[in-house]
Symmetry: C2
Amino acid sequence: MPTPDRTSLAEIVDAGRAILEESGPAGLTMQAVAIRCGVRAPSLYKRIRDRDALLAAVAEAVVNDLADRLADTENSLSALAETYRAFAHENAEGFRLMFTASAPLDALDHAATPVLAASAAVVGDVDALHAARLFTAWATGFVHMELAGAFRLGGDVEQAFTYGLRKILDGLTP
Amino acid sequence: MPTPDRTSLAEIVDAGRAILEESGPAGLTMQAVAIRCGVRAPSLYKRIRDRDALLAAVAEAVVNDLADRLADTENSLSALAETYRAFAHENAEGFRLMFTASAPLDALDHAATPVLAASAAVVGDVDALHAARLFTAWATGFVHMELAGAFRLGGDVEQAFTYGLRKILDGLTP
DNA sequence: ACCTGAACACCGTTCAAGT
DNA sequence: ACCTGAACACCGTTCAAGT
């Protein structure tokens, strides 16, 4: 006899993402997710292979969210930089997860589209990919270090961000 | 009656680092470390508080190693970039660990010294910190993405690295 | 067909008892 | 003073038995 479903893959991934932000990766246990979905831990395995697959699904949800935000942003490198950084601050744990082991690579490619377009507008099509990688690497590294608390030698971090962006644009502008 | 020590903190940290590179963070169990040190897991707790403290100690060892390598490098941003990237490739798991939760922040500051000096040589003392942050963020993000397999849109990654370095130097050079 | 309790393997950690 | 086996708590995962 069929039973009405008491949860869904989407609910599980949402719960996982919320718990990740609240309690970090160590807090993201199958138990915690199950409780939040009103179900027992073994039931989760009907919907998702294992915890690694859940982490991958959460990472993909985060990347898709980021891609939407970037797609809605004015298509300039400075506007994209602001959006990217703001998103990372709002989703610190999810942001870290994005670049981890089983990263959602296809989704990342998709998120890169607006950056490629904005880069092409500055340096032309031939160098667009190189320029996009310069920009993305800088923004990713900056936020990563910022979230890790690695900027401790004094100085204004906001200013450092603006400075970096300006110098990159200076370097790229023909 | 005193017993001769059968291991040491240094041996434990070395074992942890080796296991981390071989088997990743999930493989770095107290059991695995203990076996490698010829001792049982509970004995480790005489030398180190818990697994988190071990991870922190491993991270610090990695950063100190990196600091030595950078200090031995010719003091130019391009030479430092090569050394930094090579180190990250040789110590992929350790590199990831460096920017994690309980990062060894003091050691990171120390590793930053040569980068600050090389930056000052290009932009002067006033902007040296901003410039060092631009450079470090870019290099860190680039290697991070590279290690995560995030560069998949084609194009030559070596070229992208050279391109990024050149454009940053272009942007920084007055 | 989904859900669950029970069970198992594995890991971190503590501790009393050895030497 | 360090080392160990035994024990405990906790987590991921499987599975037979329920509905």
